[in-house]
């Protein structure tokens, strides 16, 4: 069976204004709205569209995270994923650990494609997909803005600094998604009801034989330096005059 495995992460919702704890021990996440990482939602949408076009028979959504990630997995099932895998793990999960857990799932499920977001908007690491591809010994096509599948290959357009780059990769492969790949669908109420009956399997890092290594220690968290509040000018002439006075314009 042709499967697509989609990796998702539960993150602080992107509309939440992040605050650093006064003691510098972390950022405030208590009582804060949590959501599926927006890039991962795009990854799931892409997998669903590929399935709807007949390019896959099953979409599996997987996460490595706390038991609290169940609502996000149910949400993913409501979007249209067929089943969900929760690799339960508490505390800090480094990208290398997530990648190793996803590798075990990929070996078990034998997907033709693994799709993930290009980065999680909390840690902004942008590592997991590439690390999975490396450990799996398979191609990677990161920052995808277009994906076409044919004859056991994927043709992927990537958003790179120079513009758009197109790669051809043999399947199975790992794709990470950029913003403009698609616009994720809204979930309708009947689907939320249906999603409650879809299978959600819980595993652990230990049951997959993955060590929960933490090699990077966060020593201190700080708010970023604030820019001083500027001034308003009344017209273009005053703007240019001020820029000249500051030495920004000659």
């Amino acid at each position: 069976m042709k499967r697509i495995l989609v990796g998702i992460k539960r993150v602080v919702d992107y509309n939440v204004r992040i605050r650093v704890k006064p003691d510098g021990s972390g950022v405030v996440t208590d009582g804060v709205k949590m959501s599926i990482n927006p890039f991962d939602e795009i990854a799931l949408e892409e997998a669903l569209r590929i399935k709807e076009r007949g390019g896959a028979e099953e979409v599996i959504v997987a996460t490595v995270g706390p038991a609290d990630t169940q609502p996000q997995l149910r949400n993913a099932l409501a979007m249209g994923a067929d089943r969900a895998l929760l690799v339960q793990a508490d505390g800090v999960i480094e990208p290398a650990v997530a990648a190793r857990a996803l590798l075990k799932l990929a070996e078990r499920e034998q997907p033709s494609l693994v799709i993930l977001g290009k980065q999680a908007i909390d840690d902004d690491n942008s590592q997991t997909g590439q690390m999975l591809a490396a450990l799996w010994g398979r191609p990677q096509a990161t920052f995808a803005s277009k994906v076409e599948l044919a004859d056991g290959k994927a043709r992927v357009t990537r958003e790179v600094d120079a513009g758009l780059e197109t790669l051809e990769v043999d399947l199975p492969a790992v794709i990470t998604t950029d913003l403009r790949l698609n616009e994720p669908r809204y979930v309708k109420l009947p689907e939320i009801m249906k999603a409650k009956k879809k299978p959600l399997e819980t595993l652990t890092l230990a049951s997959l034989g993955v060590e929960a290594r933490q090699r990077l220690k966060a020593v201190r968290f700080e708010p970023p330096p604030q820019r001083q509040k500027g001034i308003k000018v009344k017209d273009a002439a005053e703007l240019i005059e001020l820029l000249k006075k500051k030495g920004v314009l000659a």
């Binding site: 992040i18 290398a96 590439q130 690390m131 490396a134 191609p139 790179v160 790669l167 500027g230």
Partner: protein, 317 residues
């Protein structure tokens, strides 16, 4: 004892990307850094010569292979791993799409930890990096003696200057199995005579308020007069007014120009994270309550279609 640092050069086959000089600058902040730059290319001579001119570089390694014509992560990673196993404690690449794609693949193959977007290196094992779109800065540390792979946030460093004498260039033998499962097809190189957005001293950026691709053209006119690069907000790129490579922000380019002029950009957090390091930020927007004014040094409330021609007239030429 010196700290051996390997920097993976970014280039287009002929020219060294300025991001490499930023990585060298980052590496130079580490005590007793012994810096090697690796140039992976089909023919590395010309790029290696440029890398050898950077102050702080002790030697340049040419890693040549016909497969290296295009920078494919799956092709380059095993070769860099072969070089990096030669006793380097830190392996750095730029936090550009090139480095973001490549370095995690290198880290996974080396079984090392990666530190992304290094904005300061306090030592070879302790770094500062932004998280949550730059809304928090975290200091991270690895065990002493551990090998680290990192990407360098290029907006945080001034490019390393030219050296008085060039570093030696050597050929490296990178024994590696190079996969054929990934093939380059094409790149839409939107080449222009304008300064490069990522390294330009001045940047003029436009947002949704430009209202169309035609509307966006007035920015190019102004940018040309100022010798500036052109950028765009996500909204402008999503709407098709500007190509993706102009996007500035958390998921686009992070820049640090002397002058940043945001025109018709409301200033979403994700955009602001890309411009926070600009020396002077100017915002022009008709909405006086737009969040962009919270970070702007100079704000001007008004209709951009009136203001831009006025500015053009005032700066003459």
């Amino acid at each position: 004892m010196s700290t051996r640092i390997l920097i993976v050069a970014e280039h287009d086959g002929t020219r060294l990307n300025p991001s490499t000089a930023k990585c060298v600058a980052c590496a130079r902040t580490i005590a007793d850094a012994d810096i090697t730059v690796a140039v992976c290319a089909a023919n590395a001579e010309s790029v290696a010569t440029q890398a050898a001119q950077l102050q702080g570089v002790a030697r340049v390694l040419k890693v040549e292979n016909a497969a290296n014509e295009h920078p494919l992560a799956a092709v380059l990673a095993p070769q860099i791993v072969a070089v990096a196993r030669g006793g380097y404690s830190l392996v750095l690449g730029p936090s550009t799409t090139f480095g973001k794609d490549l370095m995690p693949r290198v880290a996974a193959l080396l079984d090392t930890v990666q530190v992304s977007d290094i904005m300061a290196a306090e030592s070879a094992t302790r770094f500062r990096r932004p998280i949550y779109a730059g809304n928090a800065i975290v200091t991270v540390e690895v065990e002493p003696g551990a090998q680290v792979v990192g990407t360098v946030r290029i907006a945080s460093f001034e490019a390393a200057p030219a050296a008085s004498s060039a570093a030696p260039i050597q050929s490296a033998q990178a024994q590696a199995d190079i996969p054929t499962h990934t093939r380059f097809v094409s790149v839409s190189a939107a080449r222009s005579d304008r300064p490069d957005l990522q390294t330009a001293a001045r940047v003029i950026s436009g947002g949704r308020a430009l209202a169309s691709a035609e509307g966006f053209q007035i920015l190019y006119k102004l940018a040309d007069k100022l010798g500036a690069a052109v950028g765009a907000s996500r909204a402008a790129v999503d709407a098709g007014y500007a190509p993706n490579e102009l996007q500035v922000g958390q998921t686009g380019k992070i820049i640090a120009p002397e002058l940043y002029v945001a025109i018709g950009i409301s200033g979403a957090i994700q955009h602001l994270t890309g411009i926070k390091d600009a020396r002077t930020i100017v915002a022009i927007n008709k909405d006086a309550e737009a969040p962009i004014f919270e970070v702007a040094d100079i704000g001007l409330v008004g209709d951009l279609f009136q203001i831009i021609p006025e500015i053009e007239k005032l700066i003459g030429k």
